[in-house]
Amino acid sequence: MDFTYLINELTKGFTSFTWGSAFMIAVGLVLIALAVFKEYEPVLLLPIGFGCVMANLGMSADTGFMKVIYDAGIKTEIFPLLIFVGVGAMIDFSPLLSQPSMVLLGAAGQFGIYGTLLLALWLGFPLNQAASIGVIGAIDGPTAIFVGSKLAPEILAPIAVAAYSYMSLIPIIQPPIMKLLTTRKERLIRMEYSPRPVSRLTLVIFPIFVTVIVSLIAPDAAPLIAALMLGNLLRESLVVDRLNKAAQNEIINITTLFLGLAIGATMTAQSFLNLETLKILALGLAAFVIDTVAGLLFGKLMAVVTRNKVNPLIGACGISAFPMAGRLSAKMAQDEDFENFILMHAMGANTAGQLGSVIAGGLLLALVSGLV
């Protein structure tokens, strides 16, 4: 009988526990607290936080059952794609289709990706990591995880954490920028809303055409756009109610739980507690700010071009962050004038941002794979 081994075995929980582990558990607890008591994106921050706690209690994504989940879902890219099938099934593109020009705002809200990439390069990150950090500026979880896990899996955890944490902080990050960059007069602009009816045929054709066009021009974005548009087709076809419900419920709920846990389980003290992580978190914030600024400036441009028929606030929805950003812009307009309802326009710009983010993420992947 080997008592030394026995004692090691019985105390291994403590001997492998470090100050770093304790700190990271505290980080996990903060994420959980934000989820539970502040309701900041709880369906993601709670699993990420719990995964982080587990990772620093010996259950990291490098070993055991969490590795099984990580390998099955993140390495294969399946989890972000399944989430996109569910998200697609929840998106209504008719506000966008009835006002096609709104789609431009979805392009403007992607400047943060490249601005952050440049900042990251300037701070000394190699190109693949800089691009992965930049993709936080897509402000869309599945896109960030899909691109990040392909270009720089070693920094996937901080990227995902930044993406989801700041996304949950949108109601805190965006308003000051929106007030700073727009005048009260601009915020008071009312937008006409006499939507053209969107036929079922249009709603069915749209996701298919988008899949074909985006897959041809940005083939690296093909899986993301195909998953998103498959979900939307399930929704708009109106003939596969069972599949539509499965996408919006079972598939997205189960995947979200395990995606969150798996991301959290990569947040071990060894891999997370370093200066790079802090830099990435700072750059992520920059990405959100640059995106919002670019979106608002483009919104102001549209206001000028259309002679005040566009409220610049909806520029801030082009960043993606569907559907929070859309609601926030509408709320900001109402805070100035209780009778000013721009929600439909904001949702149009917001869904455009969703499309723009996926396209920009795919193009970035192609460009960087081509240059690294």
Binding site: D92, L97, S98, I113, L118, P197, S199, I217, L238, L355
Partner: protein, 120 residues
């Protein structure tokens, strides 16, 4: 370093250029789609209702329970006038005849939000 930054600017230029290019193509596609299908009168709401009927017929025998649930829920909802309220989300088609209806509903929800916010 300098070379890397140059590459970065190049990527930025090509990348944002292509994003705008793709988005503008989508704009054209969407405008075209809306133009081509604008003749079709049937709105989504109507076809949805019709399709629901058909679907329910098709699944009548497989999904009795489900149908029963739907029927019961629908019956109650109608009785309580809930359907009107529950469907007033971001789907615009229901309100496409009169703007006032949309504004009225939106304001009602806004008031409700304020009440709840006040409670918080």
């Amino acid at each position: 370093m300098r070379e890397l930054m140059q590459t970065g600017w190049l990527i930025t230029g090509i990348g944002m250029g292509l994003v705008f290019a793709v988005i503008i193509i989508l704009w054209g596609l969407m405008a075209l789609l809306m133009k081509l299908t604008s003749r079709e009168k049937k709105t989504k709401l109507e076809s949805e209702a019709e399709s629901d009927l058909l679907t329910e017929m098709v699944f009548l025998q497989e999904d009795q329970n489900d149908l029963k649930k739907k029927a019961a829920a629908a019956a109650v909802a109608i009785g309580l006038g809930l359907i009107q309220d529950a469907q007033s989300g971001p789907q615009i088609n229901e309100q496409n005849t009169e703007i006032n209806a949309w504004q009225a509903v939106t304001r009602a929800r806004q008031l409700q939000n304020q009440i709840i916010r006040g409670r918080r």
